[in-house]
């Protein structure tokens, strides 16, 4: 069929793991309702599979063999890799679709060099989104990863090209496919600065993203601007770029708040028109 849904959402582990520490309960529940709404939109699209473009955190890939891009190709995955009590998500098997993955990977590789993996242990970067989007684990998931962690990182322009390649690959399949990009915008996770958020930077980036302003998005510079103003967590914007590129149409920012710093990220939900 084709790509039938494209969006982005946050994935920080605190979103589930530190839910019970939150003081601003009203804001937390508002964010959760928007994630639930995103689930409803994906279900209403008729999607039979969900591509999750993630920024993995050394659950599978290490500096001995770090792919710029990788897509999973298995009928089942497992996660979370983290202590389930810490993430507050039970360890489980997540359904995949190896046949569909193989077809998508084959198509992507026509234009973007991409690794594949028949084993993949999900960390919070995928498990937190699935906790909200496919809470019954009843939709086939195709994990896709962009190297946002181990420099040299995947260049932004290549992340955009990866999204475009995924779009062509999805459109060539008979199945209805949804796609989400999941990462943080400005944040300083896993440091003593956890909870620091640059809201102005986030909103400007999201404005560019929703407008599909590729030129502006390509000007973000990792080593200077992004690292200084958005932290090393800002490197994960690659997942959002890929999702926007896959969609092609304008975005609608459905939710953003910087008022949940205990989650260590500006909490975001958005969808794009498929164009």
């Amino acid at each position: 069929m084709s790509l039938v849904y494209a969006g982005v959402l946050s994935h920080a582990p605190g979103i589930t793991g530190r839910a019970d520490l939150v003081k601003n309960v009203a804001r937390r529940d508002e964010f959760y309702r928007m994630l639930d709404h995103q689930r409803e939109e994906i279900e209403a699209s008729g999607a039979e599979a969900l591509v999750v473009i993630a920024a993995e955190h050394f659950a599978n890939f290490f500096m001995n063999n770090m792919p710029a891009f990788c897509i999973g190709m298995s009928d089942a995955y497992e996660g979370p890799i983290e202590d389930p009590g810490w993430l507050k998500i039970a360890r489980t098997r997540v359904p995949g679709n190896a046949d569909l993955s193989k077809r998508v990977i084959t198509a992507v590789m026509q234009t973007v060099d991409c690794a594949y993996a028949e084993e993949w242990k999900f960390d919070h970067g995928i498990m937190v989104p699935l906790h909200f989007l496919t809470p019954r684990y009843d939709m086939a998931v195709i994990p896709a990863n962009i190297n946002c962690q181990g420099p040299p990182l995947t260049p932004l322009a290549r992340a955009w090209a990866f999204g475009e390649a995924l779009r062509r690959a999805c459109d060539a399949q008979p199945e209805k496919i949804a796609l989400v990009g999941t990462g943080g915008i400005s944040h300083w996770p896993a440091t003593p600065d956890s909870g620091k958020i640059n809201e102005a930077w986030d909103r400007e980036f999201l404005d560019h993203l929703m407008a599909q302003d590729r030129d502006a998005l390509m000007r973000y510079d990792d080593d200077v601007q992004t690292y200084r103003d958005a932290g090393q967590g800002g490197f994960e914007i690659r997942t959002y770029l890929a999702a926007a590129a896959a969609a092609g149409g304008p975005g609608e920012l459905q939710y953003y708040t910087a008022e949940l710093p205990i989650f260590a990220v500006g909490c975001t939900v958005a969808r794009f028109a498929i164009d």
Binding site: P13, G14, G17, R18, L21, V22, K23, H57, F58, A59, N60, F62, M63, N64, I81, E82, D83, W86, L87, K121, D123, Q149, G150, P151, W188, P189, A190, T191, P192, D193, S194, G195, K196, I197, Y227, G231, Q232, P261, I262
Partner: protein, 111 residues
């Protein structure tokens, strides 16, 4: 400096149940499998989050390790700050402390 080996130790530990069993049953033997400095080996033997942070272990790897050790969230943040106080700034990588040790959440301040 063998930060690569140090991080690989933790990467394997974080994802492999067999390594986690060996960590609990034969930590010295597991450490001996990696080419580590005495300081790095000591940090692992002691579960010294602060020193591992200063040595430059990637924050995501370190966070998963802290979760494996059962360290509560705010204690984990404190351990990193204490590491800076004892050993100086982060020596490598992109997970440096930039906020001067301040807390950025009302929840941490209110505990």
């Amino acid at each position: 400096m063998s930060l690569y080996q140090l991080q690989k130790f933790l990467y394997v530990l974080n994802r492999e149940p067999a390594a986690q069993r060996r960590y609990r049953d034969d930590l010295d033997g597991l450490i001996a499998d990696y080419e580590l400095t005495d300081e790095e080996a000591r940090a692992l033997r002691d579960g010294d989050i602060g020193l591992l942070y200063v040595l430059g272990v990637n924050g995501q790897i370190l966070m998963h390790y802290a979760a494996f050790l059962g360290i509560a969230w705010f204690d984990y943040l404190d351990f990193m700050r204490e590491g800076i106080e004892r050993h100086g700034p982060v020596r490598a990588g992109v997970y440096a402390m930039t906020g001067g040790g301040a807390s950025f959440t009302e929840e941490e301040g209110a505990r």
